[in-house]
């Protein structure tokens, strides 16, 4: 090793960096996962990836390469914030980061035309390029014939066929990365790029046509099955009916399918609690374990089956390609309140959690449309609100079959709560689009991908991932909050002449009593006041806190009764209804507010969001409580 040589050309410590660039939905993230062993979200609609993600791949020669996955785009002329990420990374404009050493252009082999146009645009950057012809399996199945050697010669870049979703489907790409990276180091001159004019775009298009004429010997069949299915699913009447039926089934199933496993978990938790009760001597430790941790964390964990059912539906809808159809079907209807059809996708993700929902709004091009979508996303009932709904429904709604036994009353109430969230979101959007976010809607120009059967393994992995996130959260954040709440609810202890359960005299009791006057007009007792405070950190904690409070308030015998039973005894129906109304609008958790801050670059919009939602929540709870008290 010579010192001089390394002084002249300092050795690179960082591994070479390659970026995956291509049209939306061509399989970049699937390739990324195959190359790096990651588990980033893959789904069958354009606009899944909205951020830059990095990972490491090891090439067959043992070289470590940093791989960057990017949002899909049709051109470097970014139209929306997600596409800006792609442009900035590719051009080396991203903060504190040089441009990538090489680009892997990913193209959907079943639809080369649009993909190759981007390749031609990217070639002008002068960076080393590899073209990955992805989805070769689908292309073969449709009888599409591509002459890879000629394509490579005409484009002047190496071309490798890949099948991102098959094991070993990226071996050729890894070999090519080795070759390209070995020769890529010298030519890292800064990119020059200027926005192509429509004349340039037509010229690129001509170039693509002449390449296609030589390289595609058979364009294959169109996706006939997809077209046949779409004659029904995109039918003006049946299509919409089907969409509403799917949504109804989804909310109904969250209730119905999850009931049995929830009872099992409930039984198991009760068993553990009994065991602790009989094994440990009475005292603070036993109380911490049973009243704090088991009652608190347990009352959250029990909702795992419901969360999984909800995610099952969302994962299947995403994987089949139906989401883009829903956006199509709803474009006109959502246009009625001024929203873009595409807003349906972020809004549907918000049923799982508002955080990815708010981020998915990046794919909406126009700033006013995007802000309107972000502002209403938290009104979609997120999965963390499910526990609150379920608990109150179990406590107050009798389990009677309705509609001729087709659905249960609890499921119907659940659907009504979801519908209340959706309708209020649409009304807020209507008001926003007529006041602060005035202006015509952006044009709709969206590719409808061919349907794909979801891979059961992917769905299972997705659910497993969700379960892990949920249980980790229950084991960390919620666990810690519950211990804190148990201490607050247990100390200081009751005075000698206490007439009420000890919790009345504790710190939590004091906080609750201090807040009580504020919440009395909407019918909330002090126990709810205590639960709402940590509920802002994580909504489902509210249920856990109620679990602890009522466990500590109960006398020895009543302790075994379920939380739902305890609530049914101690709350009036108007109070329960008011709490449900509160939670339809409940001010979102801290995670949502901070992601809104990040996406809007400031505290203004999160502050507005918090204010309007708390006002709506208070107002709705007030009206519901008063009306219900008057009627009942």
């Amino acid at each position: 090793m010579s010192v001089q040589a390394s002084a002249a050309q300092p050795p690179r410590i960082e591994p070479p960096r390659i970026a995956l660039v291509g049209n939306p939905n061509c399989g970049k993230t699937a390739l990324f996962n195959a190359l790096t062993g990651s588990r980033q979200k893959v789904a069958n609609y354009p606009g899944v990836t909205v951020e830059r993600k990095t990972g490491h791949a090891v090439s067959p020669l043992g070289r470590r390469v940093q791989v960057i996955d990017l949002p899909g785009t049709y051109s470097l002329r970014a139209r929306s914030p997600d596409e800006e990420v792609t442009r900035d990374v590719v051009l080396g404009r991203f903060a504190h980061e040089e441009g990538p050493d090489a680009l892997v252009c990913v193209a959907d082999a079943t639809n080369l035309r649009l993909n190759l146009r981007l390749v031609i645009e990217l070639k002008r950057l002068g960076r080393p390029i590899i073209l990955a012809l992805n989805m070769m399996d689908a292309a073969d199945k449709r009888g599409c014939r591509i002459d890879v050697a000629t394509l490579s010669a005409m484009l002047g870049v190496p071309v490798v066929p890949t099948v991102a979703i098959r094991s070993g489907g990226v071996a050729g790409l890894l070999n090519q990365i080795d070759r390209t990276v070995a020769s890529a180091f010298e030519c890292a001159e800064p990119c020059s790029w200027s926005e192509p004019s429509s004349r340039d775009l037509r010229a690129y298009h001509q170039e693509v046509e002449s390449i296609l004429a030589r390289c595609v010997t058979d364009a294959g069949l169109p996706p006939l099955a997809t077209q046949r299915v779409d004659t029904i699913l995109l039918h003006p009447v049946f299509g919409l009916l089907f969409l509403f039926a799917v949504l109804f089934l989804m909310f109904q199933a969250v209730f119905a399918w999850a009931a049995a496993p929830m009872e099992l978990i409930d039984g198991a938790i009760g068993g553990v609690k009994d065991w602790v009760d009989t094994t440990l001597p009475d005292g603070a430790l036993r109380s911490l374990l049973t009243d704090g941790i088991i009652a608190g964390v347990g009352s959250v964990v029990i909702f795992l089956p419901q969360i999984l059912v909800l995610f099952f539906f969302i994962l299947v809808l995403e994987a089949t390609g139906y989401l883009a159809r829903a956006a199509f079907l709803l474009d006109r209807l959502m246009g009625g309140v001024g929203l873009h059809g595409r807003a349906f996708i972020p809004l549907l993700s918000s049923f799982a959690c508002a955080v990815p929902g708010v981020m998915a709004a990046r794919t909406i091009e126009n700033r006013a449309d995007r802000l309107a979508t972000i502002m209403i996303a938290p009104l979609m009932t997120c999965s963390a609100r499910l526990p609150v709904y379920t608990l109150l429904i179990a406590a107050f709604v009798p389990d009677k079959p309705v509609l001729g036994g087709m659905v249960g009353l609890p499921g119907l109430v659940m659907f009504a709560l979801y519908a209340a969230g959706i309708l209020s979101a649409l009304s807020v959007a209507f008001v926003l689009k007529r006041t602060v976010f005035k202006g015509a809607r952006e044009p709709l120009l969206m590719e409808l991908p061919a349907y794909r059967l979801p891979n059961p393994r992917d769905i299972a992995l997705g659910l497993f991932e969700r379960a892990k996130v949920f249980l980790t959260r229950a084991g960390t954040t919620i666990f810690a909050l519950m211990i804190v709440m148990w201490f607050l609810a247990s100390f200081p202890g009751a005075p000698a002449d206490a007439t009420e359960p000890a919790i009345h005299y504790s710190a939590a009791g004091m906080i609750g009593h201090a807040l009580e006057p504020l919440l009395a007009p909407i019918g909330f007792p002090w126990q709810i006041a205590v639960a709402l405070v940590p509920g802002i950190a994580a909504r489902e904690v509210a249920v856990g806190v109620l679990g602890t409070i009522y466990a500590l308030s109960g006398s020895g015998e009543a302790l075994h009764a379920s939380l739902a039973g305890a609530l049914a005894e101690s709350w009036s129906l108007p109070t329960a209804l008011a709490l449900l109304a509160w939670y339809v609008f409940a001010p979102q958790c801290l995670a949502t507010l901070s992601v809104v801050r990040r996406e809007t670059n400031g505290w203004f919009w999160p502050a507005v969001m918090f204010a309007y939602m708390i006002a709506l929540a208070y107002g709705a709870a007030f009206v519901v409580f008063r009306v219900a008290s008057g009627l009942l």
Binding site: D230, P236, L444, L448
Partner: protein, 94 residues
Amino acid sequence: MTLPSPSDGDLRLHQLRKGQPATVTGVDESVVVTTLPAGELERRMIEMGLVEGSRVVILHEGFPGRDPIAIRVNEHTLALRRAEARAVRVAPLA
């Protein structure tokens, strides 16, 4: 190739019947009211494959007002609104 006869000399994509194949003969955004800066809609359409010579056919129509429409453009399917489809000049294939 036959040139469009004078009667349908200025046929637009949104006027096509469902299932009637056509080729794109031009993109002219001047007939569309849009929030986008001048020239932007035309470029987006070209990027999405709506460019001279492309084969198009309307596959599905939405609700209400048979809007938006899903069209097959060469090898892919595209959803767009009738309002913007006005910008695409087409010649029906017999």
